[in-house]
Point group: C2
Chain length 652, copies 2
């Protein structure tokens, strides 16, 4: 790649340079999976019967095993190769192919495998890991129930220890306790990682519920028939993901050996005595959930890939499809020459760049934490990564969903035909905002963690207790005065403290605006909480009134950290032309996020009316600036040719 | 229905009263179709093969014939019964059932039938109308081409008159001229209303293109095989609407008799002489298109019904599904007790009320115009209704799409399963923002008409000419100083001229805010246009810079007319309790539309920062006020039980 200012940079070189930035650390993995998608023509298909589609996806999973990525997700001492970043990146890249495969692979190696890997101990690793890498052990992740999704602590499935036989009895006591929407449960899974309320009694004790724990439960025999006491059923057709066999499981007093409790964080002795290194039921529960973070990271990443694919399809169509003549011209204009069309797509492309870079950082941090010696890992780092992963999952899946909807509409009737793929992506992506943590819940979770400054001892609290905690402990909730990233701090120092008078294209000004918004929201949220201490206040009312505010805090935080990462990454790009272009992409990301939230910025006097008008103009101008590079910007996503080879682009 | 202030009003009475308001003039028609949906279990199904689904829909169309609605769409003198409002309302109500049927019925009786009815003359009415009512003549509407959607004037299909044989030769000269996405073309249609460039030469003349005209062309024989020269093909799977057989048609010099030109607005004599009562090619073209308004009205109306169905499903689920405990409570709260959940759904319910009432008015006006003696109809009234129909189509379909997406997400994983229907509605509704006029185009069309004050002589102009026209003719573009509706004028007179100091719950204030926004946008758009007269200005640049502004004008206009209609209708409701509740619904509609566009209102100083904060609080408070009536509000939609009888509601 050319790297001097003087030398002309070709389109190809620029695309390559951008791709290098986007691909990041696991670029080799990305290229292998891209090649695989191309070789196997891994694109969503229509008109295939559910059973056939599902069987095909299982075959495709088998074809992935020799590529090595399934083994990457597990520690060498458990039978894997221990490259977590490669494992996650490989599944992310399937978002350029078929999300049905991505989800099935994610369930097997990420969720089911992750539960065994992270909640189990040596006996489980020895018993299951090799088999689940090679698909001799096909499993599912049975957490959600018909009656309980986001509120995992309220699950109703029970696992009652029977000291007489040394077994746990797994049971679904109510209709709401039925495991539901479980990928793999309808057909292929022979094992389930079942989350259930553990009930046990030590010698002379009353049976006590110890909260939710995870158990490995065989659910099907070698022929695929339900095992005794297990009743599976099929969720049938969904909005998308036809290749994923989502199903339901009802347990009727199914007995499993004591050893099949995944006992890293808690155990039950033969006599029924319960023990755990973590005393608080709540903290133990959240520690266990925290280890499952990889699924959340993977889902955000794959959604991002699919969003990029959708944008690439729409931009490429907009570069060939003509409609209406320009004033004074003979030819019709291509769609992307219309400002309205630029405004639909280019700010989303800019946003896709920002989130892709942030996602890479989350994957890299996950890799570091999950490949380190557990004894060396700072619990605070884990908690911070959990919040970051929740933030990026919510932001990235929301972006993907919005980008694909916009892309579909931007391609008109052609966008509605399955042959052009966008309608299929739309159906597949739709549930990503819901599973692995509903985005509405995640954004509140992010806000709560910020308000308690990642305090360790709030997980025991109910909603009122939590509000009281915030109210009583946090004197002055605010962003750290000093940015964690050196480059961010330098830019802040380098910019005018009054954003109104400073240059809006200066990254310091941009960072300041976005940080100030989050800071303002955090402080005012804390103030609201403080009111809950007033004896005249109804805590329930405060709780209700605050929910919206928390979601807004979450959103502001998401955009702040994404911008900081983007600034950081761009600062490290050495080629001037590439860096300059990426700065304009950053500008468009910032200007359009300001425009999207202009009511807030004006209402709270963070921008003036004059500046607001400059922001609107700026979005237009930046769209014009990036228009000539639109093809390079989406080519740099590195979407496999087979995924872009749709009739509307080929024959336009 | 009780109708006094003193008497207690039961929930049922309130629901009935609301339903009466929403159902409007053709309530009897609605009830018949509701009963039909219930009797036939007309709900979207999954896992049915395309061919079977399509065949079922054709059978369902046959079952509709005896209900009489197909005949309602045609004048008695042509073989119908002439109740246009009933015909449109019947198809609208199918939006509570299966949109595949709605679209197929709309294509046959609305689009194909409408072309024959409105563009044809006696010979066509005699030849086709009875048959197309009874489905002996099944047709399709072949306007859109692969290369040309929104820009209908650029269609490439040709119809060249051959005076030697007295025939038109229909031909697709380029790949882009292929008719595409045509509902019915893949399988069932035996006739097509084909839009093509008419080329003819009178004695001694050179062949001249006379612009787009419509021809009835047989495309299939009795066995369903393509006729000679006709090649149909199948668009296959789409994002939804599996029961609609969208397809493509290529014509290779297909000959049809001269008489099959639909010749109400233009004719070709045996010798090839072209004649038309309308001299301007452009004006003739737009007059012909204008007669096809019924399709646009029907699509907006049906989308509205489906949006209401989606909201009813989500609200009913939110009233039974529990999640997380309230502070201090034992039971988990139902979803609709969360403010975030109220904010997701209730403003959309309010908006659905507003648009439903506006849609009723459009249907009633369409009915009056299309059942009157054509000689009595004021061309100005037609043009105004065209603009209104475009506005409501764009607004109503956008609302439906947004409401169903929000409803799907608000139902979490359950919302993603086809058995709970929202995912199917999502797929079906998606294309409604595109077909019968892409919303982006329609909003600009609305703005352009407003800027030229519905002038008659602008259809000849290209983009630059049009801008010049606006710039030169319009001294002071603004809303009429006096509102067309008496009630609106009275309320305006009754409210403070300075909206900032007036009561925001006063409808006069609300109207003023919404009118002032449109007025402001119109004036500033006109000013921009005026700049195009400056010789230094690049007209193309002005055109590009203005597009966004025009879309915003369109949106402001849509919300203004919807609010005015809503105020008008509510003013006529006699029962106090019903009227009071509807006023709160109106308030929520207004407060949330202000909130959605707060950046604009603040930036242009139409609301102050203090008022902006009051608006946000007001949305919260109104959600709280309407929460206890949520069930009644959606029950009043009158969605058939079969459409709401989904597992997530039945078994929660």
């Amino acid at each position: 790649m050319t790297n001097t200012d003087a030398a002309p940079v070709s389109t190809d070189d620029l695309t390559t340079a951008l791709k290098e930035v986007l691909d990041g650390r696991w670029s080799a993995t990305r290229d292998v999976v891209r090649g695989h998608i191309e070789d196997e023509s891994l694109v969503p298909r229509s008109g295939v019967a559910l059973d056939d589609y599902r069987a095909d996806m299982l075959e495709q999973m088998r074809a992935m095993v020799p590529l090595g990525f399934p083994a990457d997700g597990f520690r060498p001492e458990h039978g894997g190769t221990g490259d977590v970043g490669a494992a996650v990146t490989a599944i992310e890249t399937l978002g350029y192919g078929d999300l049905s495969l991505m989800v099935k692979a994610g369930v097997q190696w990420g969720l089911f495998g992750g539960a065994v890997e992270n909640l189990g101990t040596e006996r489980h690793h020895d018993k299951y890991v090799r088999g689940l890498i090679d698909l001799d052990v096909v499993g599912c992740f049975a957490m959600t129930e018909t009656g309980h999704g986001s509120n995992v602590q309220a699950l109703e499935t029970t696992a009652t220890y029977d000291a007489a036989t040394g077994e746990f009895v797994i049971d679904s006591p109510t209709p709401g306790a039925r495991k539901d929407y479980i990928g793999g449960a309808a057909a292929h899974a022979h094992y389930a990682a079942v989350f259930a309320q553990l009930v046990t009694a030590g010698p002379g004790e009353e049976p006590t519920s110890r909260g939710v724990h995870c158990f490995v439960v065989p659910i099907r025999d070698a022929d695929g028939a339900d095992l005794p006491g297990v009743t599976t059923s099929d969720c049938g057709y969904k909005g998308g993901l036809p290749g994923v066999d989502n199903g339901r499981i009802v347990f009727d007093e199914v007995r499993i050996p004591r050893g099949d409790l995944l006992n890293r964080y808690a155990d039950v002795a033969a006599d029924g005595t319960y023990s755990s290194p973590i005393e608080s039921d709540n903290r133990r529960f959240f520690t266990m959930l925290g280890t499952l973070i990889r699924g959340r990271v993977t889902v955000g990443a794959a959604a991002g890939a699919t969003g990029r694919l959708g944008l690439a399809l729409a931009v490429k169509y907009a570069l060939v499809r003509r409609q209406f003549s320009a004033p004074g011209a003979d030819d019709e204009l291509v769609l992307l020459d219309y400002r309205t069309h630029q405004r639909r797509l280019l700010p989303l492309v800019a946003r896709a760049y920002a989130f892709a870079l942030a996602q890479n950082e989350v994957i890299a941090e996950l890799h570091e934490l999950q490949t380190a010696d557990p004894a060396d890992v700072d619990p605070d780092a884990i908690r911070k990564l959990e919040v970051k992963a929740a933030a990026i999952k919510a932001g990235h899946t929301a972006l993907a969903s919005r980008a694909i909807s916009e892309a579909r509409e931007a391609c008109g009737g052609a966008g509605y035909l399955d042959e052009n793929r966008l309608s299929r992506l739309r159906g597949d992506i739709d549930v990503f905002t819901t599973f692995e943590g509903d985005n509405l819940i995640l954004r509140q979770l992010v806000a709560k963690q910020l308000l308690t400054a990642y305090a360790d001892d709030v997980s025991d609290l109910d909603a009122v207790g939590w509000i009281r905690f915030v109210a009583s402990t946090v004197r002055d909730v605010a962003l750290e005065k000093t940015a964690a990233r050196q480059v961010v701090q330098t830019l802040l120092d380098d910019s005018d403290e009054d954003p109104e008078n400073s240059d809006l294209t200066h990254p310091g000004t941009q960072l300041r605006l976005v940080r100030n918004r989050e800071d303002h929201l955090l402080r005012t949220a804390a103030n609201r909480m403080r009111r809950a201490q007033d004896p005249d206040e109804d805590a329930k009312e405060v709780f209700t009134a605050t929910q919206d505010h928390l979601i807004k805090v979450g959103d502001a935080h998401i955009e702040r950290i994404v911008l900081e990462i983007m600034v950081d990454v761009i600062g490290k790009v050495s080629d001037t032309k590439t860096r300059t272009l990426l700065k304009r992409v950053r500008d468009l990301f910032v200007y359009s996020l300001l425009e999207d939230d202009l009511g807030w910025f004006l209402m709270h006097r963070h921008v003036s009316v004059e500046r607001a008008k400059a922001i609107r103009r700026g979005v237009n101008e930046l769209c014009g600036t990036l228009r000539p590079h639109a093809a390079e910007l989406v080519d740099a996503f590195g979407v496999p040719a087979v995924a872009l080879g749709v009739p509307m682009i080929r024959h336009a």
